[in-house]
């Protein structure tokens, strides 16, 4: 009798798991390492952002706080927290998140409601204040919505194509969340969540005509929102006629145009931008691309855009390579959300869309938004890694689900 030959890991991995009771066998996929290209893109954006935050705030900070590195120091602290969040996001078992989808969704709605009863800051109820800390529930809402959609779309599988089961419930949840955001008011985040929802429904197989109908039916609501809200109308008018609003609504926008437009190919050089001399109070925040354009020129802007394109494709890779449908949808949803937010932000700075008040992911100055962004990025890295918990057959999957416990099974 010949002794059984020990199989190599590769051979084991390539072998389909045995089919159980007529089920289709599930291929075993090898674990991947952390996606270094994605990680590098994220780190590059964080670095550009941090450097430009320093460059664009040092003068104003020195005047106001007598410390040119005031914002830099704070950004580094945020980055510290963000790094922890990213590490957590990339290492924990994201499937636990799936189990927590509904509690998360409920907590998100509660917090969004809570923010509305909190005192307004700058006329908006966007923050939950906990002593010295403030927290924007919209950040949690983003995670909750993506997780919910991923969970639901993965579960419903082919039924997604149906209007009543696959389309309407998702839109209802998303619309409720968007309505809560509009009440803050936060039109920008609301649009991002709506666009992410439609993107995920599209990928899941929703009928394109439904999506078109959804967009068209949102148009009158958008019109009502703009015309019915004086400041939003002002912003909107300012978009079409910036010069007339140069001192007020369009000030930031015009100054951003001047900053970015005067950059030329290679820019004024790091730290040599003149718009930082008090012309752009929000230069480190929503308008971070303006100092980038001014100091690093078109090359700088192009690099930032290219890095986002890189994130899109590496995020897509993570989504496609995910071990389970839920993970795939989460990775795709997060990726598309990053891309949407970046596009809107850049569009605002370049004057392509009216001002929305959205940060540029990874690049804009810190806050809870940066921490959540980095956590979500960690999650994409996590999903792309194909975590080591390998469940080989549907039976075992079902078993694990029943027991509500993690099962670790060696290859038989």
């Amino acid at each position: 009798m010949v002794a059984p030959r020990l199989q190599t890991a590769a051979e084991l991995d390539a072998r389909p798991a045995p089919a159980v009771a007529g089920q289709a066998p599930v291929a075993v996929l090898p674990e991947r390492g952390i996606d270094l290209a994605l990680l590098a893109s994220i780190l590059a954006l964080l670095s550009i952002g941090t450097v430009e935050i320093y460059a664009s705030t040092s003068v104003a900070a020195a005047a106001k706080y007598h410390d040119g590195a005031y914002f830099l120091k704070r950004q580094l602290v945020w980055l510290g927290f963000g790094g922890v969040a990213m590490w957590l996001g990339s290492t924990f078992d994201y499937r636990r998140l799936r189990r927590w989808t509904y509690p998360l969704l409920i907590v998100a709605f509660v917090l969004l409601g809570g923010a509305l009863v909190m005192p307004a800051i700058n006329g908006a109820h966007r923050w939950i204040l906990l002593g010295p800390l403030s927290f924007q529930p919209v950040e949690l809402a983003k995670l909750a919505l993506v997780s919910y959609l991923a969970y639901s779309l993965a579960k419903k599988a082919d039924k997604v194509k149906t209007f009543t089961i696959g389309f309407v419930p998702h839109l209802v949840v998303a619309s409720a969340m968007m309505a809560a955001l509009l009440a803050q008011p936060d039109l920008g985040s609301s649009i991002i969540l709506g666009a992410t929802t439609l993107g995920m429904l599209f990928v899941a197989g929703a009928n394109i005509s439904y999506i078109v109908i959804a967009v068209l039916s949102a148009a009158p609501i958008g019109y009502q929102l703009i015309v019915g809200t004086p400041w939003r109308l002002q912003r909107f008018m300012a978009y079409f006629n910036p010069e007339a609003f140069a001192d007020k609504e369009a000030y930031q926008f015009l100054q951003a145009q001047i900053a970015i437009g005067s950059g030329g190919w290679s820019g004024a050089g790091l730290g040599d931008g003149r718009q930082a001399l008090g012309y752009m109070p929000e230069g480190h925040n929503d308008f971070i691309l303006a100092p980038i354009g001014e100091e690093l020129g078109y090359i700088g802007v192009a690099i930032v855009l290219a890095l986002f394109v890189m994130i899109v494709w590496r995020g897509l890779r993570a989504a496609l390579g995910a071990r389970d449908t839920y993970g795939g949808y989460v990775a795709f949803g997060v990726t598309i959300m990053f891309a949407m937010q970046a596009l809107f932000n850049v569009g605002v700075v370049l004057g392509l869309v009216p001002n929305k008040g959205l940060t540029l992911p990874f690049v804009s100055y810190g806050g809870t938004s940066l921490i959540m962004t980095m956590f979500l990025a960690g999650l994409v890295l996590n999903i792309g890694r194909r975590p080591e918990y390998q469940v080989h057959t549907r039976e075992l999957v079902n078993h694990a689900k029943r027991k509500r416990q993690r099962v670790r099974v060696a290859i038989a």
Partner: protein, 672 residues
Amino acid sequence: MKPRPPKPTTPGLSRSARHRAYAAAAFMTILFSGVGYHAYGLQVTDVEHYRTLADRQHVRSLEVAAPRGAILDRRGRPLAVTTDAESVFVNSREVKDVTATSEKLAAALGLSQGELEARLGSGKRFAWVARRVTDAQAAAVRAAKLPGIGVTTEPRRSYPGGVSGGPVIGIADIDGKGVDGIELALDEALTGKRARFTAVRDAHGKVLLEDGLVEATPGATVTLTLDRTIQGIADAAIADAVIKNRAKSGVAIVMEVGTGRVLALASYPTFDPNAPGTSHTAARDRGVTDTYEIGSVMKPFTVATALEDGVTRPDELWDVEGGSWQVGPKIIRDVDHDVQLTTGEIIKRSSNVGAAKIGLRLGGERLAAGLRAFGFGKRTGIELPGEQNGRVRDGKTWREIELATISFGYGVTVTPLQLAAAMGAIADGGMYSPPRIIERIVDGDGKVVREHTNEKHRAVSARTAAQMLPILQSVFDKGKMAGTAGTIVVPGFICGGKTGTAHKYDPALKGYSPDRYVSSFAGLAPIDHPRIVVVAVVDDPSGGDHFGSKVAGPVFARVASEGGSLIPPPPPGAPVAKPAAKPAAVDSADQRDPAPFDEAVPDGPDFRGLGVAKALDRARAAGVRVELVGSGRVESQEEIVDAAVPTYRLVISERAPRVVARDAAVDGPGAP
């Protein structure tokens, strides 16, 4: 038959979801590309448009006014200097409490509170509160530390000489623009070059100098040939004469013989350029701007021309007709009733008849040519505004009576300066030196851009000049046949000269007024080697005396005696030049010992006790900058620590003790 096992599927997204995900990613990529394309248009295609917009808000052109150059006398003593005065301004947008601020300012500056409140509440970013306040007031305002209130320095022109030399030096207006005298004539050089440069402006309007401050080129330092001491003597003498004789105005001129340097150019009335706003319409450089029918003072030039042309000798006897001689329809009269006079005695006794006869023998053309050779009838070219030609008409057109009167100084007009220059030609062996008042101009970079040069030319021969000197000396003779200046005593000098007492032309009478005169005196000292020429003219004396010897003579005596002693004799063999280069004993009041300073001698240059000009020289030599506050001499100095170039703030006071040269290398040999 065993069913064929289903094809293995990968977990995760379904096949169609993958396709749609790719499509979504591609769509995103297209959007990013579109955004990138738009950014290209903005940043690369339209870059010039946005750079223009950016520059419009970032770049501010600045101008730094150049400090106006100093005007110094020939020994480097200041006649006009620019010092820093402090002015208080307000940025009314930063004023927190208008009432309280006004109250404090009113107390510090002694202004009305109501007016201040209006100014502080104006809403303007900049308004003057008080200009050119005293140091103490500025310090009080600084100490109060009022928000929105600032103190800055403004240049202030000050004239240490005060009324002395006022009309010559002139005045610069509040904006530092010359409006009169040397200040006007050399305005361009004195003004210097403003520094124009661009600086970056921040959003709050604050200007940031990224490349440092560009220094303005300071105005040139103008050294005049004037001697402050002699000018002072001349000013005092002519003022005394005008006041004593109740005259309208007067001129006294001191010129150096052989160089044409004007040592003093005094006019009365004068004005104090330190007190702008006082009317000084009557105060002008009458020595160059006014012409006179000067009378007998012109006789020496008639005689010199006759001697030069060989038509007479100094000892030729002339029949002067007992002092009354008819020429054509008119009778020429003398003061005295001499019967016979030599050519020399005609000048000594100032005989009009004699002069007329000499003139008639010369003929109009030759006399006119002679007068022109002495520089009459055309501008001397002195560097002062408003110089007059004087009038010497073409000799061919003179009628007999005109020729006769012109011979003794009626019918021609001259400026006192022309007279001084002509007398200078006789004093210098016949060489005419055009009068000049600028010794040297040193531009802001320390380069000498102009230096006094004497382009003298021959007016009459040395022999004629030599013949004239004893004649001029004889005018001072006393005794029975006394000269017209026999009463004049010039202590310390034997002089030569000529008096003049001319009837003024009265337009109302269409003739010469019987009782209104121009009294004058032109002379030189000392007679053997003349060093200075002094001309004094007193217009319209009404105090009883009107003879040149009585009215203008004392001015000559005083100026020649006191001023002449200040002009050293030239060393043997050396040309008469550069008296400034030799040590000179000057006003003894200033010859005090250096006051002992209690403080330690500071590091670096020590400016204490120096005059403004010396301090500036020393600063230039030491390569440091100075800020001057006040006027007079340096009382204390203080190094400004955070300046880019070593800078000292010098507090200047009239009370500061003078310090005799401690540092010869810097002070130079001309230091008094």
